[in-house]
């Protein structure tokens, strides 16, 4: 198996009110091409920070992240992120234009017409044909996340990073999107890293489940998931993995704190400055 992602001795600290807060400590992880990995842990265990380090939004304090042998030091289209927030689509563009925008800015030689045609294919892929001309505010939460997935996939990333993308959705929509994502993953063969704090979701989705503990964020265990897809929670193996995870994560229950981030932050000006 070829490696898609290697993380070695990654530690990430933040300065919070004059104190050094260790979000991630000694993370070592290898992911094969085409794997579907779920990362689970209580709020504040650094799972989102880990994803953000892989995406290149955060720089590791020590250690490194490599994608196919190349060290990550900035955001790039080989690692596309789908966020939890329902505000990640550009509201001034339609569903189709959001995808076409990604295609156009990442390859300026691609014309507008070609971008739109290609974008249409990805809108189809996520099952939204007929909604191409809808603006974000006219789409439901689940549809917005589908467009975000289409936009991320359209630039053909090596790794799809998903930061609790279905966390803001109701149970029915979440279930439908889980099935949809599994079929998209099978069709495209993209490597997926999927962060969740929902144990059922972690088992249904992941071929490998990474359990993390908080403060500092460490990898507790990597569990292989042998249950054949589509996974049903009826399967006896499911209950077994569920118990294992519950046990692993339950130990740290007392330590879990409120998450440090909220999904709909707006940027303080300093942050915008830092970006530019």
């Amino acid at each position: 198996m070829e490696l898609a992602l290697t993380i070695s001795k990654l530690t990430k600290g933040f300065w919070v009110q004059g104190r050094n807060f260790i979000a991630l400590q000694d993370i070592d992880l290898s992911v094969n091409k085409g794997e579907f990995i779920t990362i689970i842990g209580p709020s504040g265990c650094g799972k989102s920070t880990l994803l953000r380090c892989i995406a290149g939004f955060e720089r590791p304090t020590t250690g490194f992240v490599q994608v196919e042998g190349q060290e990550v030091n900035r955001p790039g289209i080989d690692r596309m992120m789908v966020f939890q927030g329902l505000d990640q689509l550009f509201p001034w563009l339609t569903a189709l234009e959001n995808v076409a925008f990604a295609l156009r800015v990442t390859d300026t030689t691609r014309g507008m017409a070609l971008s739109r045609t290609l974008a249409g294919d990805y809108i189809n892929l996520v099952g939204l044909s007929g909604y191409e001309g809808f603006y974000a505010h006219q789409l439901s939460g689940g549809m917005k996340q589908r467009v975000a997935i289409a936009r991320a996939l359209s630039v053909q990333p090596k790794i799809l990073l998903m930061d609790e993308p279905f966390g803001s959705l109701d149970a029915f929509t979440r279930k439908a999107l889980q099935e949809e994502l599994a079929s998209i993953w099978q069709k495209t063969g993209v490597t997926v890293l999927f962060v969740t704090h929902n144990i059922d979701e972690a088992i249904v989705q992941g071929d490998k489940i990474i359990a993390m503990s908080p403060q500092p964020g460490r990898i507790l265990s990597v569990i292989d998931n042998p249950i054949p897809r589509p996974r049903s929670s009826e399967s006896p193996k499911f209950a077994e993995i569920w118990e294992t995870l519950h046990h692993l994560l339950g130990i740290h229950k007392n330590l879990s704190k409120e998450p440090l981030r909220s999904s709909q932050r707006t940027a303080p000006l300093e942050e915008v400055e830092a970006i530019i």
Binding site: F57, I77, L89, L269, E273, I275
Partner: protein, 270 residues
């Protein structure tokens, strides 16, 4: 039977907002006309509405109204254009560092409450009486709301959208152009609206202050001149033109832009 039909039609017509507004204005004009016709008010100071309209038509036909309007609009465009450029530069400067941002914010909180017209005396000393002084007043009246809204607008763009853009490899000026400016557009539009309204007010006010000194002028100067010669219907006619232009720009210009952008995108503020 026919009466019911007419009543029904009237109800339908009356449910249209524009129809109601036109009707109200007609009633207002009629009241004006009848008050002036009673003879209790001196016609020199309170002319009949029909006289005002006649004067307006006459002044329009001679090209006077158009010339004055053109002159005023040119001045506002210059002032607003310069204010927009300055606001963009100031905001760009504010984004360079937190210290620069603080300086701009402090400057804004000191100068924003000062009405544009209040700087006219000093501007006259510096630039003399002329179009330069008026442009400076318009610039001053418009620049602060523009800076404030641009500043707020850029900060209101959700961080996930900025990160989605960065994820696509967008950085620097490209990120600003493709993500931050469209994301800040609702605020930018509302800044332009406030700036336009303040600029238009500042223009008319400053034209009246030294209207008699200049040889040429805009609508403010037109009103000033008509008052000087006691041509009161002309004063009212000038006021009507000023109101009309304000309405056209706001109701047709800005309202249409809003419908086609901010409303369509579901990005209305509050």
């Amino acid at each position: 039977m026919k009466d019911i039909d007419i009543a029904k039609r009237f109800t339908v017509l009356f449910s249209n907002r524009t129809v109601r507004q036109v009707l109200f204005m007609t009633v207002l004009a009629a009241v004006w006309e009848s008050v002036a016709m009673t003879g209790y008010v001196p016609p020199l100071l309170f002319p009949r509405f029909s006289h005002v309209i006649q004067t307006l038509i006459k002044e329009t036909l001679t090209g006077e109204v158009l010339g004055r309007t053109w002159f005023s609009l040119n001045l506002v465009a210059t002032g607003l254009g310069l204010a927009t450029i300055s606001a963009v530069l100031a905001t760009a400067f504010a984004m360079c560092s937190p210290l620069a941002s603080e300086c701009i914010e402090t400057l804004m909180s000191i100068l924003h409450p000062l009405p544009g017209i209040a700087i006219l005396p000093i501007v006259i000393l510096w630039l003399g009486t002329g179009t330069g002084a008026i442009s400076a007043v318009i610039w001053f009246a418009a620049v602060w709301p523009l800076v404030a809204n641009l500043h707020t607008g850029l900060r209101s763009v959700p961080i996930t959208q900025i990160e989605a853009g960065r994820n696509l490899g967008l950085r620097g000026i490209r990120l600003v152009r493709t993500v931050l400016i469209p994301g800040a557009f609702p605020h930018i539009l509302s800044g332009l609206r406030v700036a336009w309204a303040r600029a238009w007010q500042a223009l008319v006010a400053s034209e009246m202050v030294f209207g008699a000194c200049g040889g040429d002028g805009g609508l403010g100067w037109f009103i000033y001149k008509r008052r000087f010669f006691m041509e009161v219907p002309g004063v009212f006619a000038g006021m009507i033109v000023i109101v009309l232009i304000g309405l056209i720009v706001e109701r047709i210009g800005f309202a249409q832009i809003e419908i086609r952008t901010v409303r369509r995108w579901g990005m209305t503020l509050e």
